[in-house]
Symmetry: C2
Subunit: 189 residues, 2 copies
DNA sequence: TAACCCATGTAAAAGGTTACATGATTTC
DNA sequence: GAAATCATGTAACCTTTTACATGGGTTA
């Protein structure tokens, strides 16, 4: 049950559901996503449980905005979540499931194309992620040491994504190199 | 909709639901998991769709075993899945969500403990994963080049997990080192 | 004799995606 | 005038987890 807690975390700064969605897409995308259709009901539940309060505001554009504020009870729930034991947890990585069975193609050049395509995706992800960390560090003073302790957590979360993205690309490159080596040998023989 | 396709993939070798569960836990655990309560109904659906056939076998132990075989139609469905475009896909990484908000603790030593605990988990995962790749290579002849093309896919899937596990550990170490650096400075000042 | 492995399932609940519904304002 | 952005939500569906139900055989 992470989504409600993530919302409580994000609401250190009050926000509307719509704004929270943007924070998912911009900042958390490399480790969590959520749709508006999931966020709105979750906010309602947190509100009716007393973990959030709301202030309504008319907006120039579309319906009334609902700005959510974390209550003291909400903050306590967040900290209780942080206090519970942390574990690596299970992953579901769809592309690896497919690579695992790609031998069924019976043809390495098919695999090569798939990995090359995957690499493009990883490269796009790296492109989106890469500037975020340095931007935060620059704002703090230019060096990792200048980051306040609170921001250090966001920084290392970002850095995890960066290491993953680099590792993804390196893996694609090694895989493609091995396929090319095999295919070159095939042609020679 | 990956689970049914993964089952079709695993059923290159006929198996019971119970055996398939073991394959998830032993071989696929670093990129996919499934519970028996999900596997059994999925097998029923694949069977009634004609993608699998069944042979019943009495077992010494407990109820009748149901051995599932992939039909030609099942194999076609698997290949169609492989043919569809591959993408990185979204991840949900619960521990990163928590690290992201761990600044709320207001205390780096709490974070240090959490990361140290996480590191233990990553280390256990590495321990489980590490021997699998070399075992497969050894069986094939001792070198990556000896692996048949089909086994290469499983090998690189394993290798992806290995890179991830190593990267996880390196990240924990860097994070802990930075916390220690900050805490040493705090004491000095 | 207790714990564990074999072996099958169903049911309820939780978590998440996709589609639908509405409609104003701003930017190209 | 079309597309994007702001802004809220509901409904149906799919996926996954947790709990329940059953029961024989093997190992310490």
């Amino acid at each position: 049950m992470s989504l409600p807690h993530i919302l409580l975390g994000l609401l250190a700064e009050p926000a509307t559901g719509f704004e929270l969605k943007k924070r998912f897409d911009q900042t958390l995308r490399h480790f969590w996503t959520a749709e508006l259709s999931q966020i709105y009901p979750a906010l309602h539940r947190l509100h009716s449980g007393g973990l959030l309060s709301v202030r309504r505001q008319t907006s120039r554009q579309g319906p009334e905005r609902r700005i959510y504020y974390r209550t003291p009870k909400g903050r306590r729930a967040l900290v209780a979540w942080l206090d519970s034991p942390i574990e690596p947890g299970d992953l579901r990585i769809g592309y690896l499931a497919r690579v695992f069975f790609a031998g069924e193609w019976g043809n390495l050049s098919r695999t090569r194309d798939a990995i090359a395509r995957l690499r493009e995706g990883f490269d796009r992800e790296l492109g989106l992620l890469e500037p975020l960390g340095p931007a935060a560090v620059q704002q703090a003073g230019g060096s990792l040491r200048d980051l306040p302790d609170t921001a250090l957590h966001a920084y290392f979360t970002w850095y995890k994504g960066l290491l993953a993205a680099r590792s993804n690309l390196a893996w694609c490159d090694e895989f493609i190199a091995e396929i090319d080596r095999r295919q070159t040998i095939d042609i020679k023989e």
